[in-house]
């Protein structure tokens, strides 16, 4: 077992694989935000309320699969791989799920935004969200894993079960598409840091 790949949370997942519910509870506590936010962004805003239901399925699958976890994988990568598979499958039987979850109450939504996000108009936010939603699912997953979760290419490749060069290509094509989608909204773009000289006080 290579020492450099050994993560702090690996023992927790190994313990969960032996039936340790408390250990799994700590993993849920540590990783549920990342999993839910990944799913919210992947499903796009109109499906964001369903992200928690899907995230619950992801953690249930993780609990069941914990005995098969191989310590050379990182816990976050392993969870996001389950989440990605769930998200890709979810699109396929979305209609069925909607019919099932009619009684579900929507969770309270309090937007979390970066300062850049706050500076953008509501219309721009919808434009960007729509552009992200329009990407082919694997390109979207790759871009979300890279941009919001800052996963290295090798880990994105592990999540998507593909090669690093395929990840490079997915990201490049995602950015190209995004650029085309947003090209007509240049006037709404956030104020960029000017490359010009700045006067120091």
């Amino acid at each position: 077992m290579s020492a450099n790949m050994q993560q702090d949370d690996t023992p927790l997942l190994l313990a969960a694989g032996q039936g340790d519910r408390a250990a799994f509870g700590r993993l849920v506590e540590r990783y549920h935000r990342a999993v839910i936010h990944f799913l919210q962004r992947f499903l796009t805003s109109q499906d964001a309320d369903e992200a928690e239901d899907l995230a619950q399925d992801v953690f249930l699958a993780a609990w069941k699969a914990a005995p098969t976890f191989e310590p050379r994988a990182k816990v976050l990568t392993w969870l996001l791989r389950i989440a990605t598979n769930a998200a890709l499958n979810y699109r396929r039987d979305r209609q069925k799920r909607r019919a099932v979850s009619l009684d579900g109450t929507a969770p309270p939504t309090s937007d979390i935004e970066s300062p850049v996000g706050r500076a953008l108009s509501h219309e721009t936010r919808e434009t960007v969200t729509a552009a992200l939603a329009a990407l082919p699912p694997t390109q979207r997953a790759a871009l979300i894993l890279r941009h919001y979760h800052q996963l290295p290419y090798a880990e994105i490749a592990a999540v998507l079960e593909t090669s690093i060069s395929a990840v490079e290509s997915l990201l490049f094509r995602a950015r190209q598409s995004l650029q085309k989608s947003l090209a007509c909204h240049k006037s709404e773009s956030p104020p960029q840091v000017s490359p010009g000289p700045r006067v120091q006080p």
Partner: protein
């Protein structure tokens, strides 16, 4: 360097994944190519625009809901429910399970009325193999292509 190559390298650079070997070539191309300079600015602009996609705070009781939904880990019935679920899409898993059933029955007929550690360990291995066979059986590309085709 061609502009198409420069565009790909710019995508790597924005992620900090451009290696030192190729960075000088890209920098040299950018100095002489206004078109690629504009492309680089657009990449930065789109990356910044992605920050506009908002997410909401998870429900406070999410963890409690997950924990309440968990079945007991590694109970025999749970394992077999899962294995049975895998039978349908995976003929390979069916073969593995049939083999496991055969060996488990054989060990029972040998006089083991209670589950022996050996049988337990083997059953656990079968479970592990069946589960891990799921992603390995379909390569990422094929799996994704299948799902993409089915979804659109």
């Amino acid at each position: 360097m061609q502009c198409a190559t420069a565009h790909k390298l710019l995508s790597l650079r924005i992620d900090g994944e451009l290696d030192d070997r190729r960075a000088p070539d890209l920098a040299a191309h950018l100095r002489d190519c206004p078109s690629c300079q504009a492309f680089a600015r657009e990449l930065e602009r789109c990356a910044a625009a992605l920050d506009a996609v908002s997410v909401s705070e998870p429900s406070a009781d999410f963890g409690a809901r997950v924990m309440a939904s968990l079945p007991p880990q590694q109970s025999t019935s749970e394992r077999w429910t899962l294995v049975r679920g895998l039978l349908r899409p995976l003929p390979m898993a069916a073969a593995v399970v049939a083999l496991a059933l055969g060996i488990t029955l054989a060990s029972l007929m040998n006089g083991n009325t209670t589950t022996t550690p050996t049988a337990e360990a083997f059953e656990s291995d079968v479970y592990a193999e069946s589960f891990s066979a799921l992603p390995e059986d379909s390569s990422g590309a094929r799996y994704i292509a299948l799902v993409t085709d089915g979804g659109n």
